[in-house]
């Protein structure tokens, strides 16, 4: 029989140490568990501070006793290695476990047990828990804002269609894979525009817009057959001419007649709101800020001084000011810069402002990728006789963009998280709607539920995005 030394447990009396240690730890957890779940203080006979610290002390001693290196028990070794390497770690682990046990019952009771979800008025919320009835009643408003109830199917249909079209890439056969980039870069955004402006906005604006799309598509198709020598002039002149022709010559009479037809009811952008507005704003800003940022980053590395300093100025300006002042600018200062009779919709102004703002951040991220590429890549491309654009599109950008996927994903995440700021110009997406609902005299006092609900939503969206970007990063990782 070896001598027992409780200050230094060793392998020889493994069982003795193990049993006493496990019993102590279990006891300490049991005390805290009883205390927090059943509100029973079984050690209340002890004086105040001792009974408060007793579980901690018991658990601490117990963890000390079972801290035996190479005990031969796999489970014990795993525990020791992960949460019980030394006294300090053991103490912190215990503290975390106790805090979790302590905070579970109130959280559970607030979220589930004492919460109400039945009924459809404030009166059912009598318990001490959350009032999910409030969320249930206001759910439509949180999702669609002030959008008329009868027309909400338009938003749903657009989003479902866009989500479906967005996943087409996964089903494409090998034959069509090479067109996917074209699809996602050109066709998909155009379709998205189409949906949002036709379906969600409705009204005559659809016609204006569809002319633009028709003009663009026709000119792109014809553009394939134009010799590259004239392409630049072609793409500057032809689409605009086509658009003007379509709008003022070909369809002028039809426009009026179609307007009389039973078109979709026009819903002004001021009525849009809720989570759908968050998606719309983020979506458009994503589409716009990426190309702008790309050009700014290329401009910043350009050899032409005017373009270079213009890009630097743009990037540093937008990065130096807070988004809220940019939105202030777009709402109070920008109208001063326009002719009296010209009016740009609030939502459009906001989208332009956020896009320019985030584009500066995207530009800096992409510049990081461009700088990380070795000079040899540029030299090799040039030695093959590639011009500036060919070199960038075929050689430089594919590698640089691959490198900066995490950075771009972070910028996009920041963009999604910045959308609630549009409350400054009076557009109410989900956070704005929450604040509106909170001040409704019939539903006072449920701020907490609303914010928890929105937090969970945003967390799911942003967390999914960050995980997806991580997957992308792994997928396109190449050894260099």
């Amino acid at each position: 029989m070896n001598k027992l030394n409780f200050l230094q447990p060793d392998k020889n009396n493994l069982n003795t140490y193990l049993y006493s240690g496990v019993i102590l730890v279990a006891l300490s957890i049991f005390i805290v568990f009883l205390n927090s779940f059943f509100n029973k203080d079984i050690i209340s006979f002890l004086p105040g501070s001792i009974s408060f610290f007793l579980p901690l002390i018991l658990g601490f001693i117990g963890l000390h006793l079972i801290r035996i290196d190479y005990s031969g028990l796999k489970f014990l070794d795993t525990i020791n290695k992960n949460i019980n390497t030394n006294n300090f770690n053991a103490f912190l682990s215990l503290l975390i476990v106790f805090v979790v046990i302590k905070s579970l019952p109130p959280l559970l009771s607030w979220f589930i047990i004492d919460a109400n979800i039945a009924g459809d008025s404030k009166d059912v919320c009598t318990g001490s828990g959350a009032c999910w009835t409030y969320i249930k009643i206001w759910f439509n408003r949180f999702m669609y804002g002030m959008y008329p109830n009868a027309e909400q199917w338009r938003i749903n249909l657009s989003f479902i269609a866009l989500a479906f079209l967005g996943t087409i890439g996964f089903f494409a056969t090998e034959k069509f894979k090479k067109y996917l980039t074209l699809y996602y870069v050109v066709v998909y955004p155009v379709i998205a525009f189409f949906f949002i402006f036709f379906f969600i906005s409705g009204g005559p604006i659809f016609f204006d817009f569809s002319y633009g799309i028709i003009a663009a598509v026709i000119s792109i198709i014809i553009g394939f057959f134009i010799p590259s020598k004239f392409k630049m002039y072609y793409f500057i002149i032809v689409p605009i001419t086509l658009y003007i022709l379509l709008k003022y010559v070909f369809f002028y009479e039809e426009l009026i007649e179609l307007g009389k037809l039973e078109a979709l009811e026009w819903v002004e952008t001021g009525a849009w709101g809720g989570l759908s507005l968050t998606f719309i704003v983020s979506f458009f800003c994503l589409i716009f800020c990426f190309p702008i940022g790309l050009f700014l980053s290329l401009g910043r590395r350009s050899d032409f001084p005017i373009i270079k300093y213009f890009s630097i100025g743009m990037i540093e300006f937008w990065r130096g000011v807070p988004l809220i002042t940019v939105l202030f600018m777009s709402s109070v200062m920008f109208p001063m810069f326009l002719p009296e009779d010209m009016f740009i919709d609030k939502l459009v102004r906001v989208i332009i402002a956020i896009s320019l703002f985030e584009a500066a951040y995207v530009a800096e991220v992409i510049r990081g990728g461009l700088q990380a590429l070795p000079r040899g890549q540029y030299d090799a491309a040039k030695s093959l006789g590639m011009g500036y654009w060919k070199m960038h599109i075929l050689v430089i950008l594919p590698q640089a963009l691959k490198l900066v996927i995490p950075g771009i994903a972070n910028t996009f995440l920041a963009l999604v998280k910045d959308t609630p700021l549009i409350f400054v110009v009076g557009l109410l997406e989900i956070v704005g709607m929450l604040n509106l609902a909170k001040t409704n005299p019939e539903w006072l006092g449920f701020a907490m539920e609303g914010y928890v609900f929105a937090s969970v939503l945003f967390f799911i969206i942003c967390y999914a995005m960050s995980k997806y970007s991580y997957n992308l990063e792994q997928k396109y990782k190449t050894e260099r």
Partner: protein, 381 residues
């Protein structure tokens, strides 16, 4: 010079000039129509609005420029508080993320993932409208440690009442100056003689002893003024004396520091992980103690990675503090771009001043960062 080089530049220039020309022409026409003349003369006019919370003396009879200063100081105040707490939380969480204790590691990870995936504005609203509204009324508040009162109307903390405050400040300045000299001396001594001086303990000692001497011999005297409850009306109570931190400031600082801390934590983690294992092993193999390894080998290299992105986060925090406008904390945006703009209607001047303030702040910091990066970059031979 060939045309291929000049043409794109000229085109860009032309477009930019056209856009600016268009805008400024319209602005001129619009201002003429509304009868406003462009100019910054309004800054010296009487502002005639009140600000709830200001660090300097201010009321409606002061000028707009002073209102601007009030807003700027409030912005700086909340940014400094936020930066201090964000750094503390961020460093602790960042180190916890590196811990080999599974529970600590995961707790820190959950904290980081949770707080950085929720919009800052939502967090500010949560603290201001939901969490801090659940606090008790002034008359029901249990004091913390007998002197702090956390109520729905704000956080009341005791204030120090100083006699001869200037001497106390001089003593601290003297301590700092002497610490700088001791550092220089210690570095010289180490380079010449190879002897290390315990600079850190000497510094701490000086920082304690000199102000203490000023108390004993300099006639400096401080007494604590504890907030006392006072009845305003039948059900209205408040605390008098001490310092009042308004709930807007608390919720803003709390949200800013919790949010930014997640990013700082990631910076810290990346920095420490960025130091290669070989460095630590090499340092240990030449006989440095673990503390020395940390202090002389790991930290200098880790800081080189940590500091630039962390400064960026500080800058972001300062810019994000402009969200104060959403909960009516009187910062630069609310006081100047909000109230003052409403009163004067001078959109262009006021928005441009506000933007320039933030712009000059961030550009000066980025210039400093570039200088610092150059200074600490590894000089390869």
């Amino acid at each position: 010079m060939n045309i291929k080089k000049i043409l794109p530049q000229l085109l860009t220039l032309l477009v930019v000039i056209l856009i600016f020309g268009f805008f400024s022409y319209n602005a001129q026409v619009n201002m003429e129509n509304r009868g406003i003349t462009f100019g910054y003369g309004f800054l010296s006019q009487e502002s005639s609005f009140d600000v709830q919370f200001s660090l300097i003396e201010y009321d409606g009879s002061h000028s707009y420029f002073r209102a601007y200063l009030v807003g700027l100081l409030n912005t700086i105040l909340v940014s400094v508080i936020g930066i201090i707490f964000a750094t503390i939380i961020g460093v602790v969480v960042g180190i916890a993320r590196l811990s080999n204790n599974y529970l600590i590691n995961k707790t820190a990870a959950v904290y980081v993932e949770f707080f950085r995936n929720i919009p800052l504005l939502l967090q500010i609203f949560f603290w201001y409208f939901a969490a801090l509204r659940a606090l008790p009324l002034p008359q029901d508040t249990e004091p913390m440690f007998g002197v702090f009162f956390l109520t729905i109307k704000g956080f009341f903390v005791p204030a120090f009442v100083w006699n001869n405050l200037d001497i106390f400040i001089y003593s601290i300045i003297a301590a700092i100056i002497s610490i700088i000299f001791i550092r220089i001396y210690a570095r010289k001594r180490q380079e010449n003689e190879g002897i290390q001086t315990p600079v850190f303990s000497i510094s701490i000692g000086l920082l304690i002893i000199l102000p203490l001497l000023s108390f004993l011999f300099g006639g400096v005297d401080a007494s604590v003024e504890v907030p006392v409850i006072k009845q305003l009306s039948q059900s209205g109570f408040t605390y008098e004396g001490g310092i009042k931190l308004p709930p807007e400031l608390i919720s803003l600082a709390l949200a800013l520091s919790l949010y930014t801390a997640t990013f700082i934590a990631e910076c810290v983690r990346a920095g420490v992980q960025g130091v290669s294992k070989g460095q630590k092993e090499a340092a240990a193999s030449i006989g440095l103690t673990p503390n020395q390894v940390l202090k002389l080998v790991v930290m200098p290299q880790a800081l080189r990675i940590i500091i630039p992105p962390t400064t960026n986060q500080y800058l972001n925090l300062t810019k994000n503090s402009s969200l104060a406008a959403a909960i009516a904390y009187p910062d630069l945006v609310l006081v100047f771009a909000g109230t003052a703009l409403m009163q004067t209607g001078r959109a262009i001047e006021i928005v441009s001043i506000t933007m320039l303030t933030y712009l000059s702040l961030s550009i000066s910091i980025s210039i400093f960062m570039n200088w610092y990066n150059k200074k600490i970059a590894i000089k390869e031979k």
